[in-house]
Point group: C2
Chain length 222, copies 2
């Protein structure tokens, strides 16, 4: 086999919901890693690294998730491969995955070395073409939440409609009318009332829902 | 940079519509290339090859399309990257694209060396994991034709509703009721009547349509 001189890397865009530091409302965050080597030393970059010779692509992405956040994968899907010849001084093709982390898990996240979380829409100027990749991942997430029950990967197994709406509002970055949202969410037929209510609230405890189990795992769908 | 020992290849699944050899109806075909080297010498495989050091990923896929069919790209999109460690004796990660070719272009296709076209649902046992990749591409095409106007890449710029229906029938491999199809197709609002009719037919010449120009090129969407 001839030496191609092309390095193969796997990077992972990890999305989680955490409170916004100013408004306190649910907002979309992602962890970035400060580069300790040239090129772009000191800049923030997506977590990832070279693909190991005997490693599955998705295993590499999962290891990145664990190393960066201390968390295991809840939702992990291949996003896209970026391979422009000029995206790095040495030719690197990056196969990018994206992962979604539940709110309760995100709260338990242990930051790895040189890791910091940023609001997804306020990331600084990143190394390489990583701003383009973040934008691509945001567009995928925002597209997919409108036609698939992907919001469930941000939620506990049982949730209120207000919690589900907060996920949509955080991802789509807009206020959604509660009555319209309720009607549309229930019309999709993917929500099942658990028959129980949220306890510990003051008055009129809200009903809990869960998503219907999906017969085809999301990651097997093209 | 350390030697990873991983080769990077780009392969392309090329879909075109041609008449079925038995029924004469429009059917989905794809070209395959007979392997002249080990591993899997003599087996059919998807066209493609190693990524060149200075080559864009999509350029590599486009060159494969040209080399295999003599055609230039009409619709070309990244499909998925396949990288299981055991998919080849030497570790190869394949970034796969898919291309759609218009019927009138497919008729002009010049087959490259060792190239043969197969009915998409009757491909033989292929080299490596290429049967899995073909199935993945077929699922993507079949999914996408139901929610996007991707059928236009199989058609001339102006077409009749019967021609559009034939594309859907060939891709989805099922008969579609003409009246239902007409109603649903027109309801999408993406079809514009050209105001002209198909000439050269016997009685009641059918109206011609075109697709509304899409403000966002398909390939820029995640």
């Amino acid at each position: 086999m001839k030496e191609q001189g092309i390095e193969l890397a796997v990077s992972t865009v990890i999305f989680a919901l955490r409170p916004h530091p100013r408004s306190g409302e649910t907002a979309l965050w992602l962890p970035l890693v400060r580069r300790i080597r040239e090129p772009h030393v000191g800049r923030w970059a997506l977590p990832g690294g070279p693909l190991q010779c005997d490693e599955e692509l998705s295993a590499s992405a999962r290891h990145t998730l664990e190393r960066t956040t201390g968390l295991t994968s809840n939702y992990l899907e291949q996003l896209y491969s970026f391979g422009a010849p000029d995206r790095s001084p040495q030719r690197v093709v990056s196969i990018v995955y994206w992962a979604l982390v539940r709110a309760d898990e995100a709260a338990r996240a242990i930051d790895g070395e040189n890791v910091e979380w940023f609001l997804a829409d306020e990331v600084p100027e990143l190394a390489f073409d990583h701003n383009t990749i973040v934008t691509y991942a945001l567009n995928r997430l925002r597209g997919k939440i409108t036609y698939s029950p992907i919001a469930r990967f941000f939620l506990s197994p049982e949730f209120t409609l207000a919690e589900l709406r907060a996920v949509h509002e955080a991802v789509l970055r807009k206020k959604i009318d509660p009555a319209n949202f309720r009607r549309q969410a229930l019309a999709t037929k993917t929500l099942v009332p658990t028959g129980t209510v949220l306890t510990g609230t003051s008055h009129r405890p809200p009903a809990l829902y869960r998503f219907q189990v999906n017969p085809t795992p999301e990651r097997l769908r093209p």
